[in-house]
Assembly symmetry: C2
Homo-oligomer: 435 residues x 2
Amino acid sequence: MRLTKAFLPTLKETPAEAQIVSHRLMLRAGLIRQTSAGIYAWLPAGLRVLNNVARIVREEQNRAGAQEILMPTIQSAELWQRSGRYEDYGKEMLRIEDRHGRPMLFGPTNEEMVSDIFRGYVTSYRELPRNLYHVQWKFRDEVRPRFGVMRGREFLMKDAYSFDLTKEGAQHSYRQMFVAYLRTFARMGLKAIPMQADTGPIGGNLSHEFIILAETGESQVFLDRELLDFDPLAQEPDYEGDLSPTVGFWTSRYAATDEKHDETAWGQVPAERQVSARGIEVGHIFYFGTKYSEPMGLRVAGPDGSEVVPEMGSYGIGVSRLVAALIEANHDEAGIKWPDAVAPWRVSILNLKPGDAATDALCDRLHAAMPDQALLDDRPERAGVKFADADLLGCPWQAIIGPRGAASGKVELKRRATGEREEVSLDEALARIQG
Amino acid sequence: MRLTKAFLPTLKETPAEAQIVSHRLMLRAGLIRQTSAGIYAWLPAGLRVLNNVARIVREEQNRAGAQEILMPTIQSAELWQRSGRYEDYGKEMLRIEDRHGRPMLFGPTNEEMVSDIFRGYVTSYRELPRNLYHVQWKFRDEVRPRFGVMRGREFLMKDAYSFDLTKEGAQHSYRQMFVAYLRTFARMGLKAIPMQADTGPIGGNLSHEFIILAETGESQVFLDRELLDFDPLAQEPDYEGDLSPTVGFWTSRYAATDEKHDETAWGQVPAERQVSARGIEVGHIFYFGTKYSEPMGLRVAGPDGSEVVPEMGSYGIGVSRLVAALIEANHDEAGIKWPDAVAPWRVSILNLKPGDAATDALCDRLHAAMPDQALLDDRPERAGVKFADADLLGCPWQAIIGPRGAASGKVELKRRATGEREEVSLDEALARIQG
């Protein structure tokens, strides 16, 4: 993509309404634009990051055996009356009347709907277990939306729903998602720590929040340092096998948010392993038995012919929130430092002298070698403007090309995360960037 | 994907409410499920087709130089009051009040919002032309939703918006989308004919509907046979060059819907070239000058420093509707016949004797060779059930494997569209399927 043809607006001023760094940087780098309070449009660079995040989420859901569907945004109120949650949800639920006066709502979550869909087809234990997920826009009518997409009203969420014949099966499904979440966040370069959580309006008996660590995080968390040393990507999980050892490792070490913090238990963690840090919630998983399957009338014939009410769990990841959380965890004064896996482009090519034939040619060769992963700054702007915009947008690599380097076929390659620079040939640059 | 683990429910009965063939087949094949009147959930097989359709639409938008963004579903009513369309839209617009009593709506289209976003950044002629598109769910509160996703209330649409400095520029942008649309539908195996159209609630001076031909189409159309012989994919378009010859070819031959049909002009088409057929609208493009940019306050500095109000056009494709239209154009008594480019899987593998070691092994080998593009029917069902379900779901190839073939390493390969069958080796089967 060439900047002279792109729609990649950056702002020089820091927008006054933005209170946290991710919100400021997303507005300044032209990733999003607010269209109403707590509602945002995603501009091309922001959408590319959002799509990368969603792709990784999907790949790990699929790997764990979940199947993707897509439920609509608008739901009938009647579904929620059946589960009893229609009143519970209060004013955060966006309630709507259609032209015939029928009560509808913009879905904040989908336990009722997915149970109703499942009930329409599944009649036998042979069709269990199943885990269905979707990635869809939700609405939560926050009284005071703020912090950009970190706490927006319209937000993109991945929500999965598992259906099992037995409690043991449901716990296995829960562990599958537990492990899939660890992998998902690790692939984005994040340290995510599962912490026991309250179940809130979803309900249920067992629940973990996944908290990523970021210096500018929203809340205080406490954890055992051993958890930081575990690499969820070190080995490929066997999702059909016993996942208890992995889950057990995580749940046997101390990790708690401020609200659940227990000074007595904390005191038993050796002092040198006590880590207190800031965190951001990016995922939440629930096991809630038959809380929804029962009222929604879900029944299957068991192996012995008797009726069984399936056991359920639900599993959410805040996809649009993750984009902001990634920035909270990866930025400096100058702007964003995208991890490779989610960056909008792998490289920003800075043409320091558009119009100079050799410089243009070298820039074009690099751009042509990876047209979908390179952003070419070919604007007639000063070098300083280009450096600042490239640091702000935060692609992992910057290829800086001017007449001097072009004369000898050299590219100055800068790693955004560390600031390291080196002069390399075009082929070396490509090899490094494509990693 | 293995059917014993998949969520791919089929229905034996034809649902009574479905009046048209695509609606019946989408319900029976388990592509969609109605969740409220005119609102559908997409089940795994349907979502795969929807994603394939959307991917082709995106690829051709990108090729033509349009850039993807993503605007939210919920809009502020204030935007629409500024353009004067808030009242015009009547009861088809889903109006919403948020918790603070602010009037909002579920966007049926985005001319106002995209103009407002553009206005926030673009100040100079140097930043034109631009074409921004998104693929997002829209809502149109039809009084009597019917025909499944062909005329649903919540539907997925690709809408693009072009911004140009001059009328001539805007007409070039219009021609770019005209050509991109021809290619988009052709890649899906559809014959799409552009026909001059009324502009309706979008307004403007110039407009074409893209109508695909299908025996079971919703409306009568009349066209010159020469249009059927043109292959939009025969050559790569030069989107920067002059597209008038291509557009001129299409607009100089007779093509009209029932409403615009002109018996006098029709009489001048040689009788042997007169084709009257059934059609389905799947796209609509508009050039409307400054109808939105003017009230939305869009202004850029022109080359001479004077203020210019950009010229706009908008360009829609009904992505979810296309899935139904594809079925209207590609089906028989037994079910769907997906064109290769949009099929949920390229091949259905029919294991005629699950549990027979040689049969299972051959099925598994084929499945493992293309795990993402093969659907393996490993259910303990009669062959007849498997044949019927495979024909219903309509993957382009069926690989039928039983003990007799497995003994000699042979696969019976059936082409769904033509019914042709042949016995081939596994390698030949793979080569044919992967085309």
